[in-house]
């Protein structure tokens, strides 16, 4: 692959108590591509994604070993400021998590936290992000209504826009379409593909067809082990590992 590496995971192991969930995973994830992390449920996909955002920090009984380099910087360096790392990465969770506030405030929340105070500037950010998410026309007359009144599909697009409002470099999606109807799913998938022009996109998915539709790069996990990774076209055409083959043919799922 010709793309430069954006995130380099090196010898990463994670255990919850005695259970090892990720076993010595090493992989380089390419810049400005869609990487899909796939594998049967319980294989550690979500755990891998969450280590990138340091969301596992401080959880009881979690032990993390190894390194994750983002732009060459180890995010597990104790001297690093964790809020800055998280700001670099927008997170899209399984179910949309709108904040308990208005549509406007959901988008403005991040910029406000990072010090944007001027009303005009906030308005501009909100409008720009909602427009980019294709939501502006649907919500422009109800910006100050609670975001929870939006449909689930709209909520997920709002969450994506909210994440982009803090100017991340990376977008992390944890099965971001699993709660959505087919049409909303397609809209979100389409957005993710568009976003790779400016962002590195990493998506956990249990839907193989979705991975085929959106991924440029594949990382296949099985029982906590990184079994196979590489450009999507190669992997789908010529899986090398028997477990990868079995997963692609649906023998394991």
């Amino acid at each position: 692959m010709d793309a430069r590496t954006h995130i380099s995971i090196q010898n990463l192991s994670v255990s919850y108590g005695r259970q090892r969930v990720l076993k010595d995973v090493s992989v380089d994830l390419p810049d400005r591509k869609v990487t899909a992390i796939i594998g049967p449920s319980g294989c550690g996909k979500t755990t891998l994604l969450r280590t990138l955002n340091r969301l596992l920090d401080g959880m009881d009984g979690v032990k993390i070993e190894g390194q994750v380099l983002v732009d060459g910087e180890n995010i597990y360096d104790p001297k690093i400021e964790v809020t800055r790392i998280r700001q670099k990465m927008g997170l899209l969770s399984q179910k949309p998590q709108v904040l308990p506030m208005s549509i406007f405030d959901n988008i403005a929340y991040g910029p406000r936290i990072h010090g944007v105070r001027e009303k005009a500037k906030l308005r501009q950010i909100v409008e720009q992000q909602l427009a980019a998410a294709g939501l502006w026309d649907e919500v422009k007359n109800r910006l100050h209504e609670p975001a929870s009144r939006l449909s689930v599909g709209q909520q997920q697009r709002l969450c994506l826009a909210r994440g982009l409002a803090v100017k991340p470099e990376i977008i992390l999606g944890d099965e971001p379409t699993s709660a959505l109807d087919p049409q909303s799913s397609r809209i979100v998938e389409q957005r993710l593909i568009e976003l790779k022009a400016d962002y590195t996109v990493i998506v956990v998915t249990h839907i193989l067809r979705q991975a085929r539709r959106i991924a440029d790069y594949i990382a296949f996990l099985y029982l906590g082990e990184l079994v196979e990774h590489g450009p999507a076209a190669e992997i789908f055409a010529n899986p090398r590992d028997p477990r990868m083959k079995a997963y692609l043919t649906g023998e394991i799922s």
Binding site: R86, M89, Q97, L99, I113
Partner: protein, 295 residues
């Protein structure tokens, strides 16, 4: 076949009956107390009794205002002490504390709720009353220690576990993923608590505070032992007070010999019941508003 249906019907009726009892009881109490206080209401108007400030039963003067103020002062002061401290403790336990600390402290807090109030009273007399007497001069006041402040401190400690327990449940009901949504935008933990967790849990927190208040209004024993019980309107936290429940508990046995005393005490009980009712209805209204806001 018919027997089964009959059983079902009977069970439903019986359960309805048992459910209806508490609701009916409130009305029964209300009318019972009203009926018993008619003797005094026939001679004095309700506002005169409620806002009259002289209490001399032997002269036939039954002003309840000092007791009303005693209740309000002690309760308010207790909540001013209890609400911020217990909310911050609950936030610490739920959001910051490692599981080991949380699992150790939670049962201790719950244990506090189970201590009989007379024990708190004795402890208040031994520890809090002398402490208040000692610190009063620093605020330019003289105090025997038996005071609003002593009552408020003891009461606050008693209300503490209620607010902590309920608000911990509330915080636990806020989804983890919602916190993560805020954290992943680069928010700190405190920002997340302030803007997301507290806002989402606002209705529940108000309910926990209301529950604490309700207990504080009616708490008798411990308060009675440390507030001094003089029927004068308190002017500062270092003055003694005489809350309504204490009035009732102290005098119920001896009221027969003085005319109208019985009626006056029943009226005091009625007033206490009314305060709690009004407060609860108010709290409910605020709760409904907060639920809308937390959408």
């Amino acid at each position: 076949m018919v027997k089964r249906l009959l059983k079902d019907l009977l069970a439903r009726r019986a359960m309805f009956l048992f459910t209806a009892v508490p609701g009916v009881l409130v009305f029964l109490m209300f009318f019972g107390l009203y009926d018993r206080s008619r003797s005094i209401l026939a001679l004095h108007s309700f506002p005169d009794l409620l806002f009259g400030s002289s209490w001399f039963p032997l002269k036939g003067q039954f002003g309840l205002y000092p007791f009303l103020m005693g209740t309000v002062w002690v309760t308010l002061a207790a909540m001013i002490l209890a609400v911020p401290i217990s909310l911050l403790s609950a936030i610490y336990l739920s959001e910051y504390a490692p599981r080991r600390i949380r699992e150790t402290i939670k049962p201790v807090v719950d244990l506090l709720a189970g201590i009989p109030s007379v024990v708190f009273g004795v402890w208040g007399v031994l520890m809090i009353v002398p402490l208040v007497a000692k610190i009063a001069p620093a605020f330019g006041a003289y105090s025997t220690g038996y005071s609003v402040l002593a009552g408020a401190i003891v009461l606050a400690i008693m209300v503490f576990p209620t607010i902590i327990h309920v608000s911990l449940e509330v915080f636990a009901s806020v989804p983890r993923a919602l916190r993560e949504a805020s954290l992943s935008l680069g928010a700190t933990k405190w920002e997340t608590v302030k803007h997301v967790v507290l806002r989402k849990g606002l209705a529940g927190i108000i309910a926990s505070v209301a529950l604490g208040f309700s207990r504080a209004f009616g708490e008798t024993m411990a308060v009675l032992m440390v507030v001094g019980n003089t029927p004068i309107i308190p002017k500062s936290p270092f003055d003694s007070a005489y809350p309504l429940p204490a009035l009732l508990a102290n005098n119920y046995g001896e009221m027969m010999s003085i005319p109208l005393y019985d009626g006056a005490l029943m009226l005091a009980a009625l007033v206490l019941l009314l305060i709690v009712l009004v407060f609860n209805i108010g709290a409910r209204a605020v709760l409904i508003k907060a639920e809308r806001k937390a959408e």
